[in-house]
């Protein structure tokens, strides 16, 4: 087969499938229509407010899981303080959204105004979380070994403790202490006038964020960048030897993960009908551990796994909350005061995680996806040049430009 027929064959197969650009635009429009439709149709689709909450919270957790998946699954670095970055995003977004809402001067939460508030809140939350991610990630990812784990753990715990234990009453001195007092300590931050953070993130923003996060995670995984990252995970030294800078890739992926967590935090802070205050207790180690469970259970490195894990973990968490409302459960708790269902859930999760690591360390999906990605060949229009049978140096060994005779002698 001559090169030209090869090219023709490829071209006909390209023509058979619809124009990729057109397809991409159509898919984008369809997704956009779907999210806008959800914004107005969500109430009729899911009439129960508790269930609405559950769905929105599950989607936020999907974003959390997808972002953690970048660093834990794809890069193979163990970050266990993801709740800290979600918390930073939530606080930042709450402050930004609260102040813009106040400046707009409209008391109602209007959908049109959300296009002013939410982009600013998301950008600020993602940006601040990214900066913290860089500060935390750079020193610990420069080194081999598992320093990132302990640094992120310490970071998240300290972030929470500093806010929770800040002195809020009486006179506080110094700009840091004043700022911490402004954040409200244990009671949480409830907007500039203490009447609640404006809840602009309706289904449009939360579904939209989840869809964008899925697309970004998918593109990242199958990009050259994602491949380099996975190569680094398998063997850092071998990958570094072919020109991939380990520190740069690891730090970048960590900053991406932190940004994603920040955006998820922004959604959490301004979720419609959600908690109107941002409290430090929302971002305990238990939440970080839930995020890890989402990623590991589903299969580290798998986008579908992170989605399934995120939804599954959210539903079980909420189920426990629902269970606690039953009378029989309450009677049982009265009889055994030490029966803490949430602690029981954590015990079960931890046992499952340990068992999973021993029996099936790759998680449910491993690195596979539910939808198989079709291998697509990039076709260049020019026929490929045949490889020369002999290199230039072999062809005329007397040539002074040959690699062995080298110019170094000159």
């Amino acid at each position: 087969m001559s090169p030209s027929t090869l090219g023709d064959g490829a071209r006909t197969s390209r023509a058979a499938s619809p124009n990729p650009l057109l397809r991409r635009i159509l898919v984008t429009l369809a997704l956009l229509g779907a999210v806008v439709g959800l914004e107005f149709g969500f109430d009729t689709l899911v009439p129960d407010v508790a269930l609405q909450q559950l769905v929105l919270f599950a989607l936020v957790n999907v974003v959390v899981a997808l972002s953690l998946n970048v660093i834990n699954g794809m890069a193979g670095q163990f970050s266990i303080g993801h709740a800290g970055f979600v918390g930073i995003g939530a606080y930042t977004a709450a402050i930004v959204a609260g102040h813009i809402h106040k400046a707009l001067g409209v008391d109602d939460i209007l959908f049109s105004n959300s296009f002013i508030v939410m982009p600013a809140a998301i950008l600020a939350a993602g940006g601040v979380a990214a900066i913290f991610g860089l500060v935390v990630g750079l020193p610990s990812l420069r080194l081999r070994g598992d320093y990132l784990a302990i640094v992120t753990l310490g970071f998240a715990e300290i972030f929470r403790l500093v806010i929770a234990t800040a002195q809020t009453g009486g006179d506080v001195e110094g700009p840091i202490a004043k700022f911490l007092a402004y954040l409200g300590g244990q009671n949480g931050y409830a907007g500039p006038d203490r009447n609640g953070v404006p809840q602009y993130a309706g289904p449009f923003w939360i579904f939209g964020a989840a869809v964008v996060a899925v697309i970004i995670a998918w593109r990242l995984k199958f990009s050259g960048w994602g491949r380099a990252l996975r190569a680094l995970r398998e063997d850092e030294i071998a990958t570094a030897s072919v020109g991939v800078d380990p520190t740069r890739y690891k730090v970048t992926s960590f900053v991406i993960a932190a940004t994603g967590a920040g955006v998820a935090g922004a959604m959490l802070a301004s979720m419609r009908n959600g908690n109107p205050t941002v409290q430090p207790d929302q971002f305990t180690f238990a939440y970080s551990f839930d995020a890890i469970t989402m990623v590991i259970l589903g299969g580290s490195g798998s986008v579908s796994g992170a989605i399934v894990g995120g939804v599954f973990v959210t539903f079980t968490v909420k189920m426990i909350e629902q269970l606690q409302r039953f009378e029989s459960v309450q009677a049982l708790q009265a009889a055994y005061p030490s029966l803490d269902l949430n602690a029981l859930r954590m015990v079960v999760y931890a046992s499952v995680l340990i068992g999973l690591m021993i029996l099936r360390p790759e998680g449910i999906f491993g690195e596979r996806e539910i939808i198989r990605r079709k291998p697509r060949q990039r076709v260049s229009h020019a026929p490929p040049e045949p490889l020369p049978a002999r290199t230039e140096a072999e062809a005329n060994p007397e040539s002074e430009t040959g690699p062995l005779t080298g110019k170094a002698e000159k």
């Binding site: 302990i150 021993i358 360390p361």
Partner: protein, 295 residues
């Protein structure tokens, strides 16, 4: 003011020697397995609970000597058992499995973290989340002296164990090269078990001493102390036993000194900043030696 600083220094040394006892467990396990044993802080917590129950059962305030010594020994014994159990359940099964599968690097970290969460919530279920005070066995000044003396004698004993006994030699051999040590006829899994037991026993001792001084036991107490102890191990040079002691003392003194300033609540922020600074400037720690990684 000078008196205040001196007092803070003494309290800091007592605090630091307890942190050092916990840090030793991290550093010994890391030295051999290159693994952060997240469950170590929970073994510390469990040790504190065991000590609490032991001391109360043996008479508490009425018989300070019997209760103190007996309770501490009881806590050390059971914590050692717990440490061995943790290793057998969560780490040993992973060690025997071959490499080559994706993500083998983070699997031991996940089980370590899982074990930590498991123990912490188990404690919550068994002992409830309430705070419990230790019985005051000695006046506070004497407690500090006891802490300091017992911590230091244990550290000297540990140095003896590591440098003068066959088992210590085996531990050091494992930390250099596990495979080679196995070929030399060392039963590696037994040595690893003993390392975990030693670390856990030290953590339990540290826990009882800590509670005698600070007098509160609760299921999540391990997190803060665990982080401080790990930072101490890194500052001293992780894998290095005298380094962990030095790091622990430093953290203790830094902590007490910050209490003198207006920012007493930011003690852990400072500890954390110290960790970042050490990782940036001298990642091998104060006493650690840089090693070249061979492929």
């Amino acid at each position: 003011m000078a008196m205040k600083i001196l007092n803070a220094l003494i309290t800091g040394l007592a605090q630091g020697s307890m942190i050092a006892l916990v840090a030793l467990g991290y550093t010994m396990v890391y030295g051999i397995l290159k693994l952060i044993n997240f469950a170590h802080s929970e073994v510390f917590m469990m040790g504190a609970f065991l000590g609490f129950f032991g001391i109360t059962a043996l008479g508490g305030k009425d018989a300070p000597l019997v209760a103190g010594v007996g309770g501490t020994l009881l806590a050390m014994f059971f914590a050692g058992l717990l440490g061995m159990l943790v290793e057998r359940i969560a780490y040993a099964p992973l060690r025997t499995r071959g490499k080559g599968k994706a993500n083998t690097r983070i699997t031991p970290l996940v089980t370590a973290l899982g074990m930590s969460v498991l123990l912490q919530n188990l404690a919550q279920l068994l002992f409830t989340a309430q705070y419990r005070g230790y019985p005051q066995l000695l006046p506070i000044e004497d407690t500090r002296k006891v802490i300091f003396i017992s911590a230091f004698s244990v550290m000297i004993a540990l140095q003896f164990l590591v440098h003068k006994t066959w088992m210590g030699k085996a531990m050091r051999a494992l930390s250099v090269n596990i495979e080679a040590a196995r070929l030399m006829g060392i039963r590696t899994s037994r040595v690893i078990s003993i390392t975990f037991i030693t670390g856990s026993v030290l953590a339990a001792l540290g826990a009882v001493l800590y509670c005698l001084d600070q007098s509160q036991v609760y299921p999540t107490m391990g997190v803060v102390i665990g982080t401080r102890a790990f930072v101490a191990a890194v500052i001293g040079g992780i894998g290095n036993i005298p380094g962990a002691m030095l790091g622990g003392l430093l953290i203790g003194i830094i902590g007490e000194m910050t209490k003198l300033t207006a920012y007493s609540g930011l003690q852990d922020v400072l500890v954390f900043t110290a960790l970042i600074a050490v990782l940036l400037v001298k990642p091998t720690g104060l006493l650690g030696k840089a090693s070249i990684e061979k492929v």
